[in-house]
Subunit: 237 residues, 6 copies
């Protein structure tokens, strides 16, 4: 039995709400159960310096947690002077995942920054962030097209993510914090709407895992991402 | 006529919602019109080192804005390695304001940190933060009393804050961003439930102001804070 | 009786000595009793980037204390990697105060930096800094006019500052360190030569203060600033 | 044809040389073709604070590149004040990989730090680091057993790592810099001597990859790691 | 002819004034011509951690320049987050020089920090600092002896310093800024009252110098330091 | 007897091996006994900003130690956010020493950075670095001449360095770590192939030294540097 009483292939309730902040060009509040992330996409007319003259734009992401998103208060990273290694890993992952489905030439020499700020953290903040960031990005591109800043939608596909893990020897999907802490293996899958894999990150926390177990996790993830893509479609409808 | 079309002594709609995040000992989402701040109070069993052995506790505050709380995206302070001067000024003000109505001995050698994270910024974020932080702190103390961590409520009074300013020569209350940018004088007042002044900060942005103008602003502020204290009473009822 | 044995409305002896360092375009050593601040104004031909093309200049200030200006040695801020919150608050206040009486267009696209370095600290360092910085700035503008860098004096008025406080229930002026540590309320007033208020910052250290008390402090401050403006006039004569 | 002219399943020549620096408790110079990493294991009698009283030890890793390990000189990270996101990702990966095969209780409350310094970088520096770090760690544990600091070897298995990728549509193993830059998909596999998977990190640089492609890479990696484990056995013989 | 019109062996007027700041246990304002440094010695009851239990104390120094000590304003080092290489070199030199004549056991487990803050810089700030720091340290030890904190004066000898250089092929003493900028060789000598050498630092700015030239500089320095030691004796009399 | 059993004027075995890393324009592995430093010279087409338009180039150096170059592991400086004072002193010394024998105009507006990374540290790392850096720089200039980037070799002479010290009252050359720790006086000499002195840095660690002792050290250094210059000639032959 999972601590959450969910079936192995049962995800938590997912919500994706668009337009949640007033000033951003695109935004989405995403919840995976008690995990809650505010994603805001900002258009910046100046892309990074190293793209000047290439005709290409850029999509990047930043990630942070409010100090009391967590069970115990977490110290603000600004007070230690730099983002932690974990924060950097996650924001690099979100950025790569989004760029995998964006035609950077279609943006022109601009930059979209998607900020993912975790309001409440109960496991799966990075996968929720990717899933919500896509909706915020979609809203941002719609905003740009409406104002004729771009004429073609740079989004080529959906992208969404889900965590899977081996918990008491069994593959399970969408781990909450309690399950994640107890899992032997923890894996995050980022996949597109057409089922391609963008990123796999699997880590044995306890004993190593086998090829079969990896495939079991992948199977769960495929169904989960398909489900998330459906939710994204409803959110942008 | 004010840009907001409000009467000179008319505040924006104010809401104070308790219990908005799951893990904090106390929390409050406060809105002053479009300004929206999430306040979360965290109990830390270890107070700051310099209080060890004094029997006294501490209340402190931290303040930050989400990057896209603002009209234009603001760079995260973690990326410049330190909180800006403005952030430090504000969080010191919030902490001082709260401590003015707390009996620090009644807390014991513990620390309460109140995090004020601005979700949306349309002027008055520091005054909204103080007003909402008081509610979060009240909830935190209630939580502590229920668990018999403390036996006496350390809160001695309400504290709330409001900004006033001179706009086109006329004193007005609760300036939004557009009004604030155009005001000749900008003042923040922090006052208690019993009408005492905890902090006055008045700044001439353009030409200096007179004693009469200062008194006009103070008069507006008194009424405004009384109004906010009423809202706090409803919120904790 | 005040610890300093002064009458409630009695300031410490004030001196303002011009031309104390050889290389600065303007300088002033200011003393308020045992408090001693070296103010040096530097003309920089390049203003800050965000003013380029506006025809406007800028006046800014920096503030620091020598490590042994204080009763106990204070750690150098360079060793903790950044100016403290207190330092930033003070230097922002000095800069705002000076700009309140300067016609920034008359400077052209240049910047004046006024460095206020506290040699000895016995309370009131920020008010002494503002008062002395004005003299250094005046000397700097005179230097620029003599060399025809500018043709009109950008200074529109005097600006000076004084601290007042409530000590054992009584409003007193120009608190030294011992008085400041014991005061219930502490307020700084920045005012112009013509009596306008540029900045008021009043803080209750202990119990909140009343409107009457605030007015009592303001009355003391007015007389004090008028006195300081007289000293400034003598200093630049 | 691969740029390196190697067959798809052909690794570069691998060497593992023990005892290459005089003062470290364990060390290994590892080369994968032109990639060359110096791994040094240091025993520290004091483990990290959060392990005090648990009877458990810790193994951690740090990773850096000499500035001219690369084709173009890379700026030292000390000059930007902090390790880059990439550096942090890699050193966290090396640490996790080593800990997966170490019995932390058998170390006692001590810490082993394995420094991986890249002397020359031609792709695969993180996989070479893991592979060489294991040898340095083995030597360190042997040193500790010889001195009776520990009585049981804490190493439970080998651990080694290899990169694979999809290059012009074909899965290939052990990519050098030129191949890595051109690969559509890049994956790193960390596996144990008994064939268990410790970590999989697969990233689509261009178009998403399929489950079949992932399995193709995994197959190559298994053979590659088995080969590396053989080399480790020879190195410690 | 030297730019300063001085004879090759002619130093600038030197003054050493004790007791210039109120709170420091020892202080000295030192001038070498237009160069002016405020030295303040602070007794700290807690020595550095690494001396605990050794019965030994420590003497250290910190060095800084006021921003407008120089011809052009220099940026505060706190704003770049760390002391520059030059600052660190100089403060290490001052500390070493003082420790060379102090019996660290006679201090007990305490620390004396000597702050050298340059008020005005016209060449030779490090040699003036050392010379003045010795006087401040002497005053600090006298203060400690008077209060019976120590019973034996830890100072074993005088220490003072002078710069020499080769200017247009001729050895000259005590270079001012203009001479220093034009010198081919620049050397600093730190020597004791009894004529021993504590530190020699000679640098060819242009062409290398010979053994004879080094000896010529040393000869000038000996006479110069003897002169400075005389001044120190007068200052402490 | 020296701890190393060497005669007072006997240096450790010295090796200088060119071309040790693949990508650098010039490189040299230098050993002085157990001390081992990897020197790599990198050509950068863009010189520092302040040389723009002068027609002059620049040669600079950076220095670091691998964490386990030392007997006890040393913390990476990147983790404390900045190079230590010692590191900065050494890299400034290496840069000055190299520039003393380079015609900066002959380089054009380019920069050569010589990285000196200490692989193993047994005393004398800065003198070994200078000696090896010269060989790396020579190789870099040869590389540039071969490609007609420059037409004249900018190197005007050799430069090499050796440490000397007074150990148990006797001048000795090329101190290893054990000797260096016990020496009363420690001096580093940087000299050219033609015998000119570029830099002398002598420090009394215990009691001050005399002019005669300084001359004794200089005599040893002259012979030592002549020897090193011979080795350099062989290395570049």
């Amino acid at each position: 039995m999972r601590p959450s009483k969910r079936a192995p292939d049962e995800m938590r309730p997912v919500t994706l709400e668009r337009g949640v902040v007033r000033y951003a060009e695109g935004s989405c509040m995403v919840t995976f159960g008690e995990t809650k992330v505010l994603c805001a996409a900002s258009l910046e007319e100046r892309g990074p310096g190293w793209l000047r003259g290439t005709g290409k734009g850029w999509v990047t992401a930043e990630y942070a947690m409010l100090p009391r998103a967590t069970h115990e208060r977490t110290r603000r990273e600004v007070n230690s002077g730099k983002p932690s290694g974990r924060t950097q890993e996650i924001q690099r992952l979100i950025g790569r995942s989004l760029r995998a489905v964006v035609d950077l030439h279609a943006i022109g020499e601009r930059q979209i920054v998607v900020d993912c700020d975790v309001i409440q953290a109960d496991g799966g903040t990075r996968t929720a962030s990717i899933t919500g960031a896509w909706v915020a990005l979609h809203e941002c591109f719609a905003w740009m097209m409406k104002r004729s800043i771009i004429s073609v939608n740079p989004l080529r596909d959906h992208v969404a993510a889900i965590s899977c893990g081996i918990h008491q020897g069994k593959p399970v999907i969408d781990l909450d914090y309690a399950e994640d802490s107890a899992a032997e293996t923890d894996a995050n899958f980022v996949m597109t709407g057409s089922g391609g894999i963008v990123e796999v990150q699997g880590t044995a926390e306890g004993k190593p895992f086998s090829e079969e177990e990896l495939l079991g996790l992948l199977r769960l993830a495929k169904a989960g991402v398909a489900n998330l893509v459906e939710k994204q479609k409803q959110a942008i409808a």
